[in-house]
């Protein structure tokens, strides 16, 4: 991806309160420097000239790619949740788990706080990410404006921080190694679906460009 820096801004602004500043001007979210941001070409990114923060990236075919990957994520999510995750065999006893049974067991042991945290980070947050991406992008593709778009956007931004599937996969790796000594652990179908989901959803998020959505919205209106 090409990276260009914003150019310095030295002009004076004379606008009324609440009035929007021309789109070409942005302030860095990390150091507050005002800079002119020309049209960012597809496949390129712009960084703050002072602190290097990412100001804007415009992935190639961002909308289509995000939509396709979000749809694939939805399918993988269903597979990851409904098939057995791991099976564990010890002295002839076999235990099978899927993602939800671990959460339910924690709750039954009186550790509701941890159960809630795990539920949020590996089930609810990824689900909300997929649902919100589809909620925003499907209507836009059909030239309709989704209801409460700003709210959906805000929720998407907050939810992203709490979606931690990649960390969960490392946790599985460590857990399996720990149990190897006790018994045999067999990975199930869902674990592969989960790993794939992590990659596909990360791709969907990486190719999502909120600024392009706002631009599209103005075209429709």
């Amino acid at each position: 991806m090409d990276v260009s820096a914003g150019s310095p801004f030295h002009g004076a602004l004379s606008l009324r309160r609440g009035e929007r500043v021309a789109i070409a001007l942005v302030a860095c979210h990390d150091c507050d420097l005002l800079q002119r941001l020309g049209e960012v070409p597809e496949g390129a990114a712009a960084k703050c000239r002072r602190c290097g923060a990412l100001l804007r990236k415009r992935p190639r075919n961002g909308m289509e790619r995000t939509l396709a990957l979000a749809l694939a994520s939805a399918v993988l999510f269903v597979v990851a949740q409904s098939f057995p995750f791991l099976s564990f065999e010890m002295k002839g006893n076999v235990t099978q788990t899927n993602v939800m049974t671990g959460i339910v067991d924690l709750y039954d042991q009186g550790k509701g706080e941890i159960a809630a945290l795990v539920l949020l980070t590996i089930v609810l947050a990824p689900l909300a990410q997929i649902a919100l991406l589809l909620y925003v992008l499907v209507p836009l593709r059909r030239n309709r404006v989704p209801w409460h778009l700003p709210h959906a956007f805000r929720l998407l931004r907050h939810v992203q921080n709490w979606s931690m599937m990649e960390v969960f996969l490392i946790g599985i790796l460590v857990g399996i190694t720990k149990l190897m000594g006790m018994a045999s652990v067999v990975p199930g179908l869902a674990i592969w679906a989960f790993a794939l989901l992590m990659l596909v959803l990360a791709g969907a998020v990486a190719s999502f460009d909120p600024e392009a959505v706002w631009e599209r919205l103005e075209e429709i209106r």
Partner: protein
């Protein structure tokens, strides 16, 4: 607050926290302006950033102590119960020869939370002292804390998986311990602390110095 011309603050503008649109605020003291594009409340800086971040950093530091002292899980096998703290888990992997896993767990559960707390405390103090020392590097440190915090969740997931898999009645069971609850609290609270800190405060001080 006097800022160097060239920042949004100096031009009495604010960029929307939610959609990034740059908006003019003619009266900087006026609150309650809304973003014309997405309707979010506009602030020049995250509101009460320093107070909030301090409160969360202190809360996380307090939870960090029981998180490391109390057992994160207890393994009952054939009538014998063995409790594991975070450090004893690391030592278990070391003595069993799987040092890569020992390093992963040590980094994720001990080093990362401590480093996050240390960096945030350092940044808070540097802003209070109106330091103009290396703002670019300090901003990078902030971005690092934002990025790595989630990796501390590894230990929580290890406990979840072990609890779910080992349910063999009298043969063996694994229970999550109180340490895991405190540890989860450390992770959540440090993530919230990093979110509430405003990196632009680092630049406000050095901008004021250079004018």
């Amino acid at each position: 607050m006097s800022a160097r011309p060239g920042t949004a603050l100096a031009a009495s503008c604010a960029s929307c926290h939610d959609c990034g649109l740059l908006v003019q605020l003619s009266d900087p003291a006026a609150h309650g302006a809304l973003c014309p594009r997405c309707g979010a409340a506009l602030h020049e800086r995250k509101p009460r950033s320093l107070e909030r971040t301090w409160a969360l950093v202190i809360a996380a530091a307090i939870c960090y102590v029981p998180a490391n002292l109390l057992p994160v899980m207890a393994v009952t096998s054939l009538g014998q119960t063995e409790a594991d703290t975070i450090m004893s888990g690391v030592i278990y992997f070391l003595t069993h020869g799987s040092w890569p896993l020992a390093i992963i767990i040590f980094t994720a559960s001990v080093f990362v939370p401590l480093m996050k707390l240390a960096i945030l405390t350092f940044l808070l103090i540097s802003v209070h002292r109106r330091s103009s020392w290396r703002p670019v590097e300090r901003t990078r440190m902030y971005r690092l804390t934002e990025m790595i915090g989630r990796w501390s969740m590894v230990d929580i997931y290890v406990v979840t998986i072990m609890v779910a898999l080992v349910r063999l009645g009298n043969l063996a069971t694994i229970e999550a311990g109180a340490g895991a609850v405190f540890f989860g609290a450390v992770v959540v609270v440090t993530i919230l602390a990093a979110e509430s800190f405003d990196p632009r405060l680092i630049w406000d001080c050095s901008d004021a110095r250079t004018t």
